[in-house]
Amino acid sequence: MKNIKVLGTGCANCKTTVKLIEDVAKANNVEISLKKIEDIQQIMTFNVMSTPAVVVDEKVVHAGGIPSREKIESWFNA
């Protein structure tokens, strides 16, 4: 099971990203544990400079903007 975190202070793009990851996971029948991290101090421990950022299994795989569908699928297959 993939452990996924979305880092973001709660802007519209962050919410869209969470929703998109949920959708793609469902469409591909992948089981994930999805967490949203809104606390800025926690976000900064990942050293990202633009949000929304996505962390898969404790590794930052994406930062700044909504990821594309293909990109999300590639995380599931990795």
Binding site: C14, M44, V48, M49, T51
Partner: protein, 316 residues
């Protein structure tokens, strides 16, 4: 090509071309595609250029540069580095953590939302290159000088404690190779995201402009927002602070004020204040800055905008 097209369109409608309504409609049909085409083109190109200037790269570029020059650099990079207000905090901390001086960080933070391609394109398309150019130069000046002053005040202790206690990081850049295709994609993405969001404000702006074009007598605002009213500029700046919208959202207001005879300096000061200083942004910044630093930031920038307003009114 757009002028004949707009004439044909108006001719098809059951209104007199020479009437007020006819001339307003012609103006609207001509201006809307003109502004939208120009904006789409520029946003596309900027979307591609933006993909070179990631925040990480900008940070690596700025860290270790001496102040003064770095302020100029930071403000200029603010134009081309993609920036959304919800990223302000991570960006701010990321800069400070990598040893970018506080004043330089502020230069970037002031310029990034205020001077950007959308604001400049719209000003150019609707009011001409002189207004856009002056906005660019004066906006950058405000960002550079304000940042420099904040740097001179040495207010590092007014960062929140947890920010100061964060470990320093090396400003490194992961050199991801980005293919031309990906850059093209990011151009298309920007167009979808930005033009998709702002077109409605632009329509409103042009509609107001068209309405005024056809009807309202000028000089309506001149009596209380004209050049000779000394308190108009401070009032415009103060009125702008609690308001928050992006560059496109303020364009309809700018259009309306200008067309009714408000002085250009006053209106641009208002525009800068709305975009550059906003209450919601202060609330977000409060998480990383102590009140004193926020107050200093607001006062320094407000003074800068004030001066810009007066200079504009005096020169033009």
């Amino acid at each position: 090509m757009l002028i004949p097209a707009s004439e044909v369109l108006v001719a098809e409608l059951p209104v007199e071309r020479e009437s007020h309504l006819g001339s307003a409609l012609q103006f609207f049909f001509y201006d809307t595609p003109k502004v939208l085409l120009l904006l789409t083109g520029i946003v596309f190109v900027m979307g591609m250029i933006n993909s070179y200037f990631t925040p990480e790269r900008t940070r690596a570029f700025l860290s270790g540069k001496s102040e003064g020059f770095a302020n100029v650099l930071a403000a200029s990079l603010g134009i081309v580095t993609p920036f959304c207000s919800c990223s302000a905090i991570p960006l701010f901390i990321g800069f400070v953590q990598a040893g970018v001086p506080l004043g330089v960080t502020f230069s970037f933070l002031i310029s990034a939302p205020m001077v950007n391609e959308v604001a400049l394109t719209l000003l150019f398309a609707m009011f001409g290159w002189k207004v856009a150019g002056l906005y660019l130069v004066l906006g950058l000046s405000v960002a550079i000088v304000s940042g420099w002053i904040i740097g001179r005040l040495h207010m590092e202790m007014y960062l929140e404690d947890w920010v100061r206690n964060m470990p320093q990081v090396q400003a490194t850049v992961n050199e991801n190779v980005v293919s031309l295709n990906e850059r093209l994609d990011s151009g298309f993405d920007s167009v979808r995201e930005i033009v998709g969001k702002v077109w409605i404000y632009i329509l409103a702006g042009i509609a107001i402009g068209a309405g005024i074009h056809g009807y309202v007598p000028e000089d309506f605002m001149a009596s209380f927002m004209g050049k000779d009213v000394w308190w108009a500029v401070p009032l415009a700046v103060i009125a702008g602070i609690p308001m928050y919208t992006n560059a496109a959202g303020v364009i309809p207001i700018v259009q309306a004020l200008l067309a009714k005879g408000a002085a250009l300096g006053t209106v641009l000061a208002f525009m800068m204040s709305v975009i550059g200083l906003s209450l919601p942004e202060m609330v977000i910044l409060r998480k990383v800055l102590k009140i004193r630093l926020i107050a200093t930031f607001v006062s320094v920038v407000a003074c800068g905008i004030l001066i810009v307003g007066y200079v504009f009114n005096a020169v033009l």
